[in-house]
Amino acid sequence: MGQSADITTRFLAGERAALARLISWAENGDGRFAAALAEVFDRVGRAWRVGITGPPGAGKSTLVNEMARLFRDAERTVGVLAVDPSSPFTGGALLGDRIRMEERTLDPGVFIRSMASRGSHGGLACASVDACDVMDAFGFDELLVETVGVGQAEHDIVSAADTVLVVLCPGAGDGIQAMKSGLLETADVLVVNKADQHGADRLISDLEEALELRGMAPDAWCPLVVSCSAGKAQGVEAVNAAIAQHRAYLAGERLERARAAMRAEQVQRVVGERLLAALWNERGYDRETERLLASAPSPHAAAEQALARILAQVDNIADNLEPSTGSQP
């Protein structure tokens, strides 16, 4: 076991351990991943990807569990990717979100994978897109990607989705925080969870007001605000309906454009990650850094010198590019 051909054969035969292993390869930056993905990439593109983010305690896992239940009732298969933070000190992580989705464990139409955020933002975003690609290729109809928190890393992950859900709940000033942090700009659907709790009406009206104040292009998507109580299995139908509405809006050219942009972003992310890894870890540029620092007056000066050499090579590459047919001026 272990070669990419074996894995893809098992993957294409529907073996879930093979899917799981491909996700591990993506996470570990394993060199065999690219070849394996290439073998199955013609199957990618059928799933609908929903990114779900929001502050801790908003009830995202519970919501995801309920959404999955409704999708299953409608005979749709579901892949879930639950991202949790790694400890910045030890690198370890407790991945406990799936405990809220326990009743889905033995459902052959559901696959749940936990992913720790590990080192770099770029690496995580890469791996989460890769994980979605292989779950998509495996044949799941709906993909739900859940992250905790409202930072840049989470933003990068969910923005690689077709529909972005921002989940908030009453209390703790989450609404205000969300507006400040720019989450509203990301959201296609705003979900007010725990809507039975005190302060929900206020949060909903605050959000609607904030959305109205935004200038919108006439045919742009106007984010929907929906409320539910996922813990009580109430109102989650409206969340799935809002996703369907957004999906219908995107259908056709808009979707093609959005997905092409996402794929281009993934190329850039992969190149960026690999380039940095090659420079620092594999090609010994860290030693060059020490040499430059020894003679440079400041870190910035050392960086300028290093960049000058690297960029000269980059210019070289750019000069030799094929003339592009569809590129922007």
Binding site: A20, I23, G29, G92, I112, A116
Partner: protein, 140 residues
Amino acid sequence: MNQRIIRVLVGKPGLDGHDRGAKTVASVLRDRGMEVIYTGLHQTPEMIAEVAAQEDVDVVGLSILSGAHMELFPRVKAELESRGMGHTLLVGGGIIPADDMTALEEGGYARLFGPGSRTEDIANWIDTEMNRRWATEGDN
């Protein structure tokens, strides 16, 4: 960015609700830099094996204090094998008489930890064993 982090499933098979040991070990393994998936209580062998497969863990650690280990531990192993997860490193802990420990070790459990085991020893052992496996068997 080629990094290998040990992924461990800490599972509670059976009906007993004693999760003190399992949760303490889960926390300690996290602090040792491992990624830990804790299943929660009252899991069937099928559920544990399915989670292990979906999460592609390297190690499955089971804790049981109900006396049902001779029934449940072998079933977890069989369920893992049926899911293509036969390579998983299996460890266990709880109230397990010495004879049963021997029998389980003969049946494919790499190591069993009885009451009074140091969590640090458990973490060290898993760390050493996984690194040994990766060094000798390659990065599969």
